[in-house]
Subunit: 411 residues, 2 copies
């Protein structure tokens, strides 16, 4: 059907591709497919009972407030809880430094809206989180990239990239999406030193920071930056905007996340959010606060770590057993993903087609590269499928890889 | 504190003012102020018990789905329910014509994102909904306006405005925000005829359509347009994009609304929404569906109509009793608002300052005018305050108006 809207779409829509991941997710919704595609938490660790009890209490005790319009900045007790949470990691902020958003994706979108003029360059890791590229490309962003290795962003390549005058640096230091790798402490210091030298601020995206399965916690970039500037004092420097979320520690179906930023940035973000959705659902904020306030989340995160840590081990073990020689992969210390690199001659999108026939799915890596490349890479999620399914799915995928690479299965 | 972000804000932030309404709402949160300012439903009609029971059932029966990531288009059973709801009003659509949004404000924002190039003119009523101006100005929209009278948009002035080549017409035909007036049937036909002659499509925003307290329901613009083009057949024409919401019939704290549009427009909106917030909270969609599916909402809307209809009558009666001669106001047949016009010499913003001292508040009308004017107008909400508070608040406001207009109170 032709309509008068067809010729009326704005120019920016030409830069708004549909997310390859989400289109793929649809394809892999059929129940017999073992999907390592999405970035989904395990439903096994959803605290449905605690949520249910919290809903009942919220609607009984503060229903009038929870069902009503609320302030754009967010439910004050939840913002104060995030202030206390941030202080535990070493930084003093106030509620004026906190905005509640409808998932971290909205935080990325609002940052694009208030910061990016068409043609502005953003410095990103290569590969980087696809959702950030999707949000910012709609505002006309261009990208300058820095490669990754097993210790995160290669900071030796950072200085060249900074010389191109990026508006800000976007970094996912912990168990990065998509690669699963963690930025080393030495490189965190190097990143801050170079960012300071070139006067370029940082957006730190940290959805998985609390989901570490081995090794020591590293201080966040926002934390180190504040120490760096104030000689160890716990005062927030304002040079780093920090994003995190309830999606991975409570439930993504609530769409609840937060931004920590200088008060003047929060004010701009709040103006942008007023026009974007007025505010994040009051009910969801009240329920999340109610679930979290007795310390339940801290205990719950322990459970998540156990479940996901085990699944990561199962996936790594299965890959050792079933993947052909010539394929390499990362060994994440936390998070939801690991990253596979196939021989140069193999295209991961071609592998996916065969894999789906064999009822197993993953995400080809190319869309995570802002400036091209990565045709032979793949992202695998280890949090969602149950261990026996992970085992079975990796075996199927291994067989596909053997076939695609023209090798005889030797196990 | 100075930060490196201060000089990095995008140019579009200069067009993003903070909403006067929302800043005012903060001011009037003190409990002793009687506020006619917000557009808030009465907490008296929030179905907290039904919501509570629905939450428990959803988390017990489909918790895994309700707490997980969902599709950007929205929860399928809810979209199918909206298809059935739309059919009751005469138009056949499919789920491909429906997108669930995080409140109607998000629908307005996404429409701006996919349709508005900087400098595009949008044809709006004068005055019109402030939130639409706020959303679209961020994308560089300019406005051409058509005046309102007691029968809605003055269609005799429409042709001139259409000659300026607007991208689309934005209209709130039922109990308009802010004026409370309804577009007459004759003018609905005239609007469609002129829109067709000039080839300009329409965005119909209908948050209050089901909240009519007197008079006959009028067919929606989307309905009439489909009849107009298909000689009475119930097939959706695609020329009108229709917006509505659960905020006024269930609860605004859920942030749930919907768009009906041609499938290709829904696809573009879906791409934009992926980048904006991935999807609307799955949990909220499941709970709203669970509350609505047994027919509860139809019965609940009857309750809302009774409560709000009574409050409207109380406010109109109190205005007759307490407002000075020389002030005029609309007599809405539904919705949440009425509109006052003061003598030309009186500035409503000045009145508000004195009113707040007397512990009563409203919204000055000027910000609702896209191209200036309206300094002597005011919006009054009659849904939120209880009848005795309405009585008392209007008496206080009447006294302020007598004083400001230099008149002796004569009651």
């Amino acid at each position: 059907m032709q309509t008068p809207w067809d010729h009326r779409f704005a120019q920016r829509t030409q830069r708004m591709g549909s997310s390859a991941i989400r289109e793929l997710l649809k394809l892999t919704e059929e129940p017999d497919i073992i999907s390592f595609g999405g970035g989904m938490p395990a439903p096994d660790v959803f605290p449905a009972n605690e949520m249910s009890e919290a809903c009942v209490r919220v609607l009984r005790d503060i229903g009038d407030l929870a069902l009503q319009y609320g302030s754009t900045e967010g439910f004050r007790p939840l913002r104060e809880m995030i202030v206390r949470h941030t202080a535990r990691y070493g930084i003093q902020v106030t509620p004026d430094n906190v905005l509640i958003t409808s998932g971290s994706q909205q935080a990325l979108d609002l940052l694009g809206k208030i910061l990016i003029n068409p043609g502005d360059r953003i410095l990103v890791e290569s590969p980087t989180y696809l959702g950030a590229l999707q949000a910012w490309s709609a505002y006309g962003a261009e990208y300058v990239t820095v490669p990754m290795d097993e210790n995160g962003m290669v900071t030796d390549a950072l200085e060249d990239a900074l010389r191109s005058g990026p508006k800000f640096i976007y970094v996912l230091p912990n168990f990065q999406n998509p690669t699963g790798v963690t930025l080393s402490l030495e490189r965190r210091h190097k990143l801050l030193e170079l960012a300071d030298r070139y006067g370029v601020p940082i957006v730190e995206d940290d959805p998985y920071g609390q989901l570490r399965y081995e090794g020591e916690n590293l201080p966040s970039v926002v934390d180190l930056d504040s120490q760096f500037r104030y000689s160890g004092e716990a005062c927030y420097s304002g040079n780093v905007i920090y994003l995190s979320t309830f999606s991975k520690i409570l439930a993504p179906g609530l769409r609840l996340a937060w931004v920590v930023a200088p008060a003047q940035v929060i004010r701009k973000l709040t103006q942008a959010k007023q026009g974007a959705d007025l505010h994040t659902a009051t009910f969801n904020q009240c329920v999340a606060y109610e679930v979290a306030r007795g310390g339940f989340l801290d205990r719950h995160i322990e459970t998540i770590r156990e479940v996901y840590g085990h699944r990561r081990n199962v996936m790594l073990g299965a890959m050792d057993a079933y993947f052909p020689p010539g394929v390499e992969w990362t060994h994440p210390q936390g998070g939801l993903f690991l990253w596979g690199v196939l021989p140069e001659t193999i295209n991961a999108a071609d592998v996916l087609k065969v894999a789906i026939e064999k009822r197993v799915a993953f995400v080809p890596g190319a869309p995570f590269y802002a400036t091209g490349g990565g045709h032979n890479t793949m992202r695998l999620n280890f949090s969602h499928a149950k261990p026996e399914k992970i085992q079975e799915g990796i075996a199927r995928l291994g067989a596909v890889l053997y076939e695609k690479m023209g090798l005889q299965v030797n196990y």
